[in-house]
C-alpha cells in the first residue's frame, strides 16, 4: 500500500504502538533468551517500558516530540541496561529531528544514525560484542546502501540471528565468556522488533529520490 513520503507524528505513534505489540507478543521469547545468558528480565522489562511509552504518549505532536516522550518513558520505567539504552537512542533521535509536524524519510534515517551514536556512547560497545548494536548496524547499513525499510528490518533480524555464534563482550552476558556462544542476544532480538515495527509503519514504494523512503 502507498505510503506518504513524509513521516508524520501519527506514523511515529503507529511505529511505537507496533513496537509495543511485537514486544507483547515476544515477551516470553525475549525473557527466555535473557534467561539463557542474562537475568531473565529483558522481555518483562521492555514490555513494561513500552507499555509506559504508550500510556504516556501524547495524542498528537511532532515526530520529535513523540520520540522524546517515548524516550522518557523508557528511561523512567524500563530499568536494566535496555532502559537507558533505548531511552538514550530515542532521545538522540528526537533531538536530531527538525522540530516540525512532519519530517522527511532521510531526516528520519539520519535521526536513527544519531540514535545509534547514542547507543554507542552510552554503552561503549562495538558491533560484534553481541549486543543490540549487532541488529542496529546492519539495518542502518542497509538504509545507507539504498535498501528499503523492509529490507533494513530484514537486515536487523539477520544481524540479531548472527549474534548466535558470538562471544558476548558487553553487558551481563559477557560474564559467561565462551558459554555465551550459541545463544541469541536478547537486546539484538528486541532491536530487530523495533526495526520491524519501523518497516511495518513506513514500508511501501520508495519516497523521494534514491535511498530508502
Amino acid at each position: 500500500m502507498p505510503q506518504a513520503a513524509q513521516v508524520r507524528g501519527a506514523d511515529i505513534r503507529a511505529f511505537l504502538l507496533a513496537f509495543r505489540e511485537k514486544l507483547a507478543a515476544q515477551e516470553a521469547h525475549l525473557t527466555a533468551l535473557d534467561a539463557a545468558i542474562g537475568d531473565a528480565d529483558h522481555g518483562s522489562g521492555m514490555l513494561r517500558g513500552a507499555n509506559a511509552v504508550v500510556a504516556a504518549l501524547p495524542a498528537d505532536g511532532s515526530p520529535g516530540a513523540l520520540l522524546k516522550s517515548a524516550a522518557m518513558s523508557f528511561i523512567s520505567k524500563t530499568g536494566g541496561a535496555s532502559g537507558p539504552l533505548y531511552g538514550t537512542a530515542l532521545l538522540r533521535a528526537a533531538a536530531a529531528l527538525p522540530d516540525q509536524p512532519q519530517v522527511t524519510r532521510p531526516e528520519l534515517q539520519s535521526a536513527l544514525h544519531a540514535a545509534y551514536a547514542g547507543l554507542v556512547e552510552r554503552g561503549k560497545a562495538a558491533p560484534g560484542d553481541k549486543t543490540m548494536l549487532d541488529a542496529w548496524k546492519p539495518a542502518l547499513d542497509a538504509l545507507d546502501a539504498g535498501k528499503t525499510w523492509r529490507e533494513a528490518a530484514g537486515a536487523a533480524a539477520q544481524g540479531a540471528e548472527a549474534t548466535l555464534p558470538l562471544v558476548a563482550r558487553k553487558g551481563r552476558a559477557s560474564y559467561l565468556g565462551e558459554r555465551s556462544v550459541g545463544h541469541l542476544d536478547p537486546g539484538a532480538a528486541s532491536s530487530a522488533l523495533l526495526w520491524a515495527a519501523l518497516a511495518d509503519t513506513l514500508s511501501g514504494p520508495l519516497g523521494e529520490g534514491p535511498g530508502p523512503a
Binding site: S76, K77, G80, A81, S82, G171
Partner: protein, 331 residues
Amino acid sequence: MKKIMNQVQDMVRESCEGFAQAHADIVALNAEPLFIYRRDMPVQVALISGGGSGHEPLHAGFVGRGMLAAACPGEVFTSPVPDQMLAATRQVTGAAGALYIVKNYTGDVMNFELAAELAAAEGLTVQSVVIGDDVAVQDSTWTAGRRGVGGTVFLEKLAGAAAEQGASLEGVRGVAERVMAGVRSMGLALTGATVPAAGQPNFTLQDNELELGIGIHGEPGRARVPMLSAADMAAGLLDPVVADLDLKRGEEVLVLTNGMGGTPLLELYLAHREVRRLLDAQGVKVARQLVGNYVTSLEMQGLSVSVLRASADDLKLWDAPVHTAALRWGA
C-alpha cells in the same frame, strides 16, 4: 513457580510496603517513584544505593543509622530507574552531598549515571562509586568488568560509619574506595532462582552439580562442576579471593560468609567453619565476621565468600554503631 505474592507486577511494591511497616522505627517509604529512606536523616553525607530487587536485605535492609540514607529497589533483578534515584537524592541530600553506591552492572551503572546527571542539573552535589568485587569475572577487559556482589555490605557499612561520624563527601568516598580496593568475593549456587516475571528458573542444576562463580542475578556462573564437599566449596571460593588479594600471613581480614537467599543457617555456619579453617591454616587473621543471607538471589541455595583486607581504621568503622533492619549493634 511458587512465590508468596499476589500479582507479579505488584511484588516489589508490596514487599517494600511490608518492609516499611516492619521497620517503621527506622525507615519510611516513598511510593512513587519507589524508594526507602531513613527517617531520622541527620546533616551528613547521604549514602544512596539501589539495584534490582531479589537481593534482600540488600539494600533497603541497610538503610538507617550508620549505613545508607536511601535505597532504590528496581524490579526483580532489574536496575532501578533514574527517577527513583533522583527523587531519593532530593529527599535525603543536604549541603554535605550524596554518594551513590553502584554495583557494577551495565544497567545499574547507566541508570545511576543518568540520575547523577539529572541531580547535578538540579544543583545537588552527587558523586558515585562503582563496586566490582567478584573475582569470578576474569579478563575484565573483555567483559563488562567485575560484578558488585557481597563486598557491597562492607562498603555500605564502612562508608556509612564514616558518614555518620561526619566525614566529608571526599572522606566518605575515600573510605569507599579503600574498601573497593581491599575486598574480593566469589559465589556458587546449588540451585537456580526463578525471576517471578519469567516463571522458570534461569538455570537448572542436576542433583550432582553446582554452578561455580555465579553472580547475584541467577545468571549461570563460570563453570558447572560436580557437587563438592563443604571443604572443597570453601576452597573453591576462597582460593581465588585470597590469591587476588595477595593475602599474606598475619594480615587481618573481615569475612562475610553469605547465603544466596535460600541457604539454611545450618549449612551456612558449616561453610563458615570451612572458611575459617582455611584462613587459619594460611595464618590470615579473621578479625571480624558476618554469617547470614545478606546479598541474595531470591530463593537460590548456595553461598558466597567475601574477604576484606582490614586496617585498624576499617575495624573501627565496622564496629561503629549501626541500626538498620538487617544489621544492628551499638544502637
